[in-house]
Symmetry: C2
DNA sequence: TGTGAAAATTTCAAATG
DNA sequence: CATTTGAAATTTTCACA
């Protein structure tokens, strides 16, 4: 299921608004896009069911949750075979420090975005969860100074 | 304002639930955490005002929005001075292809997460928006096979 | 897609422990 | 003083035009 879905300007506007605030009421959406609230509900329900909308999440301040340091870890998993990478992915996803995980084409197989309490926590994480593992051939750590979210995701013009 | 906030188990449970579904009703939250709906509203409002909750966003399927290819671009900006990097950041954030932007410690100054329509779109993006720029000294492109979100962000145990 | 009414939820002031 | 209660205001939702 990788098909693009036909989206008219109303759908796009609804997505754009909900990307800014996923808790906007159908009444407010209605006022903003100029169709009835019931139609907004209908549109959004359709977008949810069709899989365009995968979910709605909170954006949290990691610093205020006691994880002021973020980093990206490049990881080489060798040999890069299914029976090793499957468990590796699940293990990394289950770490409380992991925020996101990318499987990449290229010599660095994985990129892990982590949020930690500080440098010693990061060191522990790298040593205990990555370099100590047989399947992990190499890890490179990059600290994140700052992160920005970019504009809403919309279909190419 | 980088202070951690004191969060009790009820706050944590609310955050955990809302991270899965930011549109859960206060009534359902109430049933799940065992305090009155009005208290849930109060707690969540407090979490919003205190800045722990930064916002609530949709998670969308980039493929279904016509951007089936994602990549990470490592970018060196030279010289790495404020008067150059400020405009660079704003320009990158404004690109419709940009999803997220990281400022990193290390030889690769920035990492840009992009979603594009295909390889030719990616090529165009790299050539027109990155390598053609004076301040961009180097770009490395890594394709993303797959991306996973990880568990909810919670304070360290 | 819109209307309108019923059901459900949000929200707030007052009461409670 | 945080929490609940209970009722009013608002929003969601659905049958039907």
């Amino acid at each position: 299921m990788n098909d693009s879905v036909a989206l008219d300007p109303v759908d796009l506007e609804l997505l754009r608004l909900l990307q800014n605030d996923a808790r906007m009421t159908y009444r407010d959406l209605s006022a903003a896009v100029g169709v009835a609230p019931s139609t907004c509900l209908d549109r959004v329900t359709r977008l949810r069911r069709s899989g365009v909308i995968l979910g709605q999440e909170l954006r949290l301040d990691a610093s205020r949750l006691g994880r002021p340091l973020q980093a990206l870890l490049s990881v080489q998993v060798r040999p890069h075979r299914r029976e090793l990478v499957g468990p590796f992915v699940e293990r990394i996803r289950a770490l409380p420090e992991s925020r996101a995980l990318f499987h990449l084409a290229g010599p660095e197989d994985y990129l892990v975005h982590v949020a930690v309490t500080g440098t010693s926590d990061l060191q522990r994480l790298v040593l205990d969860e990555f370099t100590s593992r047989k399947e992990v051939a190499r890890v490179e750590t990059r600290l994140i100074f700052q992160r920005w979210e970019c504009g809403p995701l919309l279909p190419p013009g």
